[in-house]
Symmetry: C2
């Protein structure tokens, strides 16, 4: 029981944490200090977590990583745009 709560909380935090970064970039239009490699590899990794979730048929892994992927991909696009 407590294990599931910790797991869901961990998934929620690592999913939601990218939102403030996206909001910051939307506000400042500055991405110079952000590593493109980090967001490229992170995006690929999260995409693989989605594939993994589909393979093991785990809805939580799928949903958490699809949500994170959308935000990370958006930050990646902003990084490409603003340089």
């Amino acid at each position: 029981m407590i294990v599931q709560v910790i797991g869901y909380l961990a998934a929620a935090l690592t999913t939601l944490c990218q939102i403030p970064q996206a909001l910051r970039i939307m506000k400042t239009h500055h991405t110079k200090d952000i590593s493109l490699t980090t967001y490229t590899v992170l995006g690929l990794g999260i995409f693989l977590w989605v594939i993994y979730g589909i393979y093991v048929n785990d809805v939580v892994i799928i949903l958490a990583n699809v949500a994170t992927f959308i935000v990370v991909f958006y930050i990646w696009v902003l990084k490409i745009k603003f340089g």
Copy 2:
């Protein structure tokens, strides 16, 4: 078999991806565009993944997240330092 490979690859990418960000900051000493909230929440989330891994006794979850936590905590310290 292929499922495990995808899982390990996903874990490796989401673990290693923070290293280029740390290296970039070590080089430039600039962290202005990086969201402190993102790295605070990410650090907490990864810490909870370690606790989760200990509860479910999964060495891969523990090791991957301890490694990620070290790098993310280091980026967090640099963000505090450079502002």
